[in-house]
Subunit: 460 residues, 2 copies
């Protein structure tokens, strides 16, 4: 239920007073190396799920670990009246390599002082453990002050988000009645600079691994160089041919379903006064490198992309080895927008690769994910209530923005549960998620918890 | 001194009788993981050198380990009269990755029965420990039967051949008087199928590592994909542009100094009846993939090449990671022929790479080796003597052939020591040198030892 101003202030004061304890709990969770993509860490994923079940149970949720063929889901309910709110986060994290670029053990998190303020350093701090804990800690403070949890909540934590969410759709379908809600709160996005933001536009993702094989063993480049096909060269040709000289992707039909930005959205984005030099400058770059005829915000929010996320082949160790390798492989992903069809693009991509294979080269594909883009409807009045609550907390008017990343769950909430997804998160552009030295600002954590208190009060 | 036929037969019989012991000694040497390119194995390189000094001392050589800034040389002399013969081999070996493709521990060698006969399996068995031991064991048998070593010999073992031989030229220059000989025997090549061979034409090698850096850290491809430059894509463009559609290398001036094959050599090579389908079939390939207007033997012996020996960038582990990497790197090597100048080609290559770099991408080059091709003069009568000795042992007329690999030492013997190099070895095309499951035929080892006994008798 909504809180009156005094009660709200009391809960917010409780959040402030308990911040050190809230931080300790987050550190505990960050110490669990729940890397979902690597089977070696399956036990740790399970351990993170247990930890969450225990925490949620401790603050009064009816919480359980729910098995899947891979890593478990955590689902928790609170009794209550009013609108049914579903909250989503994921407890799994990205791999940590290259480990040598970390300044500390990624799973020995620490609060660090930086010129820009205190940060929580460690893998998963921003993506997504720190974010999901903002909601858990908001509920905890609410319960401590009011004696009850804030209304009718369902918490839904996934452990496979960083590995393509293979169990998510089957699980949602099997448990649709239990999960279906009036609104779904998803905490896996960021602010726009210092402006709190609700994301309404998300790119989809298609991930493909390509493995080429030439000779049936690695060869000596002296004995075989010049006569034997080199799969690294073939792979380089394939990658080089994916873009034309204007940065456009060459796959036939790739741009089918890519919409032009509406005048209204274009105007709104122009008001955001995005400075691409600043944005790129924070990572040591200066020049937008995408399609030559597009603005920087289009490049990252509303245009599809094709990236090579990894490449491997031959001798990669120290020094030199004159090998002519048998194999070469690349991990390639496409960010999708509008109504681009991931399945059609997968077919076009595989056809393209096969069309470029010379004699004696075989290809194997591995699918890693395929999800369309999503566009969130903001007609539900809950959006404006949440936007005002965010604005109150941050003392800056919150914005509706796009986001370049892919959060397939937003589309699933829409299509499977017919529940409007509302994407609110407190990450910053410099959080280095998916990279070495990931961090989450202490301010993101603290004001994130406070934001959820305000939003819960506004929505319940 | 030359042996009469009875004495020669006696030494050869001794080789046969002692083969099991000779094999045990080779196994001891193969068990030392003397990988020169990886600093982690420096102690093992040193241990291999000590082992050789001990063995050579035991059979009567004045042997010593000679320090260099990296891995030591082994030099040994025998007192004697007649022509001064220098024998060269290298005790270092290639790295072993990918380790998972080995059927056994690469440094736990074993004699294996195969349908084609017994083979010695292990890293370095063919390249080059097995080969250098053929000469040591020939000397041992000679000494055992005659009481003396075969004339005035210098043995010269290197420990850096697989890592670009950084100390070789300075060492040869400093010790030129000691090493200068009437002929240099180099045992690091192979047979031509079942035909014993003396190699007279060798390709040179230029090795270059290219490291590209875009952003100063790995980025999230959702947040930055489309606007940030991807160094893997830049690297793929660079590699793809190195060859034209006919397989010719595009660097300006690259073919300066590449000679056409003489009519005489072309005729001789035609007589070898090289079957490219057989040659490629042994490694699972079928079609020559080099310059479209060249014969297969030209592709591997007399034409220059450009190969990518390794490529690396972004996420290479299991599963998928939507990273937009900061770095991408490739190890690229050129096989050189005729009078191609490695330094000019290095400059042309680096200029080409720089000309293809977009804004915000930095490049670093690492040089790994640069040696011109070499062409051996066979006018010295020692060549025909050795060819006859080989023909006697193998009961097949020995051939003068080309070789695709690079053995820079042949050129150094010519240019620094003014000593004619004679390249004789007993490797087979299917030895899988530089690859997993390297082997050396027991026949190569046994008849190799016998061959040196005959050659030493012919040349001393």
């Amino acid at each position: 239920m909504s809180l009156d101003q005094d009660r709200l202030d009391e809960v917010l004061a409780r959040v402030d007073a308990q911040l050190p304890d809230s931080l300790d709990r987050l550190m505990d969770l960050l110490r669990i190396p729940s890397i979902s993509t690597d089977p070696a860490f399956a036990g740790d994923c399970n351990r993170a799920a247990d930890w969450l079940v225990d925490e949620l149970t401790a603050i009064g949720f009816e919480a359980s670990k729910r098995p899947t063929p891979k890593h478990p889901m955590v689902v928790a309910h609170s009794e209550g009246t009013g609108p049914h709110l579903l909250f989503y986060g994921h407890y799994d994290v990205q791999p940590v390599d290259p480990l040598n670029l970390w300044d500390r053990d990624p799973f020995d998190p620490q609060l660090e002082d930086t010129p820009a303020g205190k940060v929580i350093r460690g893998r998963g701090s921003a993506d997504d453990k720190g974010q999901l804990m903002t909601f858990v800690e908001a509920c905890r403070a609410w319960k401590a002050v009011t004696g009850t949890l804030p209304g009718r909540l369902t918490i839904f934590f996934e452990g496979e988000e960083e590995s393509g969410s293979p169990s998510l759709v089957p699980f949602m379908k099997e448990n649709a009645e239990e999960l279906k809600a009036d609104i779904a709160l998803i905490c896996d996005t960021g602010m726009f600079g210092d402006t709190p933001a609700i994301v309404t536009q998300l790119r989809g993702l298609l991930g493909q691994e390509v493995i080429l094989t030439g000779a049936d063993k690695d060869l000596h480049s002296g004995s075989f160089g010049g006569i034997a096909i080199n799969p690294i060269r073939v792979l380089a040709d394939i990658i080089a041919g994916l873009h034309d000289e204007n940065g456009r992707i060459t796959l036939p039909g790739f741009y089918d379903g890519v919409p032009e930005l509406s005048d209204e959205m274009r105007a709104q984005w122009q008001r955001l006064a995005f400075d691409s030099a600043d944005f790129l400058g924070q990572v040591g770059l200066s020049v937008p490198a995408g399609e030559t005829d597009r603005t920087p915000l289009e490049m990252i929010w509303s245009r599809p992309t094709c990236e090579v996320n990894g490449i491997s082949g031959g001798y990669e160790g120290a020094g030199f080895k004159t090998v002519l390798p048998s194999k070469a492989s690349a991990k390639i992903s496409f960010r999708l927008v509008g109504t681009q069809d991931p399945n059609k693009i997968e077919t076009a991509f595989q056809d393209y690769v096969r069309s470029r294979l010379p004699a004696d080269v075989k290809v194997e594909f591995k699918d890693h994910s395929a999800s369309p883009a999503s566009q969130v409807e903001i007609s539900n009045p809950a959006f404006e209530k949440a936007r005002r609550a965010l604005s109150d907390e941050w003392e800056i008017p919150a914005a509706y923005i796009g986001a370049g990343g892919s959060i397939p769950i937003a589309g699933y909430f829409q299509n499977i549960l017919h529940t409007d997804p509302m994407l609110i998160g407190f990450g910053k552009d410099d959080d280095q998620i998916h990279s070495p030295n990931e961090k989450y600002d202490l301010e993101s954590y603290h004001k994130g918890i406070r934001s959820w208190v305000r939003i819960l009060s506004a929505l319940t």
